[in-house]
Symmetry: C2
């Protein structure tokens, strides 16, 4: 197989030994693999891969076709079109995935879109539903709403019946965010005068969190999932106490196989029917050939994009 290998900070498309599925695993022949902020951190040596996944091949999500199965997996899986949440290694022509981390790809959805679905929607669903317990009628603030997880969160917020406030630095995206389901689109400077919210999904970090914390209602829940603008913030504990705020940090990557299976199962249950009904989509900012890894990572890092950057690895 070939893989996008981090070699001393550079990204090189390089041949690697073919992966062998363990019991309960499948090998997916990858068609497309979405990029995530974690990939850029990993490349800079800031986010080591968890045990059991390749240390130097990034990629937390993919779509493709099952090419082989491990012990205990029915051979009828071979040839099926799937998307998958992975702990790493997705930016390659082949990737080993536990069977229970697969998502069915709806008919009519391209593998490019499907390759940008799992990490974005699993992260947003876990944060909003499992961590924050977002309810109908509550107000949700999504910072970094124009990114991959942000767009997923806006759509999930809409399906839950929440009032969705999308925060973006780039007001060009207003119409696109409203089309995804945002009830309001704001910039960080608008927050001070806005209605308080019950739940914050923080995808930006130091540049937005202090302003967001200032708008959280009593018993509010703040889930921090991305900190691209900086990770250090000053917290006023008296304010946290007074509003009985809960702040949770979360990543999917470091979770156990069983924990990830649970996240995927919840997404399949809650979001699968809506994905199949065409109610959820993956906005694509750019599709880049996997042999041009550097160009893809540059595209991801560029401010002002809307939606996912997806690597095209094989025929989609």
């Amino acid at each position: 197989m070939f893989a996008l290998v981090i070699d001393d900070g550079a990204l090189v498309w390089r041949e690697r030994p073919d992966p062998v599925p363990g019991p309960g695993d499948v090998v997916v022949e990858v068609a497309a693999a979405g990029l995530n902020a974690a990939d850029l951190l990993q490349r800079r040596g800031l986010y080591p891969a968890p045990p059991g996944v390749p240390a130097d091949v990034p990629g937390l999500e993919l779509a493709g076709r099952v090419a082989a199965v491990g012990d205990g997996v029915d051979a009828s899986w071979v040839g099926r079109t799937v998307a998958a949440l992975t702990g790493g290694g997705a930016q390659a022509t082949h990737c080993v995935v536990p069977l229970e981390h697969l998502l069915a790809v709806p008919e009519g959805v391209s593998l490019i879109e499907a390759g940008g679905f799992p990490e974005a929607f699993c992260t947003a669903h876990d944060a909003l539903v499992t961590q924050a317990g977002l309810g109908a009628g509550e107000r949700l603030l999504v910072t970094g709403a124009a990114g991959g997880v942000g767009g997923a969160a806006v759509q999930i917020g809409r399906t839950l019946g929440a009032h969705v406030v999308a925060l973006t630095r780039n007001r060009r995206h207003d119409d696109a965010l409203r089309a995804l389901g945002a009830d309001e689109v704001v910039g960080v400077d608008d927050l001070a005068g806005s209605e308080p919210v019950d739940v914050v999904l923080e995808l930006v970090g130091a540049a937005t969190l202090p302003a967001a914390l200032g708008r959280v209602r009593r018993r509010g829940r703040v889930v921090v999932v991305g900190v691209g603008s900086g990770a250090r913030v000053e917290l006023d504990l008296l304010a946290v106490m007074a509003s009985r705020l809960t702040l949770t940090g979360s990543t999917l990557r470091s979770r156990t196989r069983v924990e990830k299976a649970d996240v995927v199962a919840r997404v399949e249950r809650d979001l699968g029917p809506r994905w199949r009904a065409g109610e959820l989509r993956v906005p694509i900012a750019e599709v880049v050939d996997a042999r041009e890894g550097e160009r893809a990572y540059d595209a991801f890092a560029r401010p002002g994009k809307f939606g996912k950057v997806v690597l095209r690895v094989g025929p989609a």
Copy 2:
């Protein structure tokens, strides 16, 4: 009645109109009222009283005898010995309390001890059980363990089967903390080399929280209830994400009547039998006559004490 009134920052024992119970309330003739950090903040104008309680009479807990009942409360309550969680106003000869905020005082427990029980044990129980979900076999770190809430938390941690690590600045208290149920007693400088913990009850604030955050295990829960040493801390959000930490701030005082009733009911259910069995106690640092309010508040502010400062208001 007489009450300890905050008058331009001074504490004055002064006559006030007798309180009138509303429907479902009782009037307690106060024998003893514990001091809490919130009282000192309120005196400095930093912690305004919630609606419905006197704005200038501090006191969040008391013990005494029911002197009168409001509409809908059975007259047989009159004369009973009770302790109560209050939203303020407890440092007075008489205080109105909703019936459902009363706790039964076990036989053989002095009203002085009982007057220091409600806020300490309700706060610690709510934080450890309801907020943090502390489980048997988990490791609990209590900062400020020598204080009123700290001593309650050490005892509750022991009854839950947790491994209790008590942090105190004053190592004179080691034996007393072990007698309450601490498995280990540490200073803040010992934390770096200690085993990680699952739950932190933060009662001190800026002086201890950063070190405590550095010792929290994956999926750890941190509940902040006291910030006497300072309320501003820098948070490393990447570390929070990596460990999937949850930080919650909490106060009882601002809660609704129904929310407080729920806290009291849980304490009665979980801790009432143990209190009656003599398994829980309220260490008393000092008992001060209510007419000497300034002296009591000075005693509370003095570092190095062990247990509660309690005002003696009436015959105990």
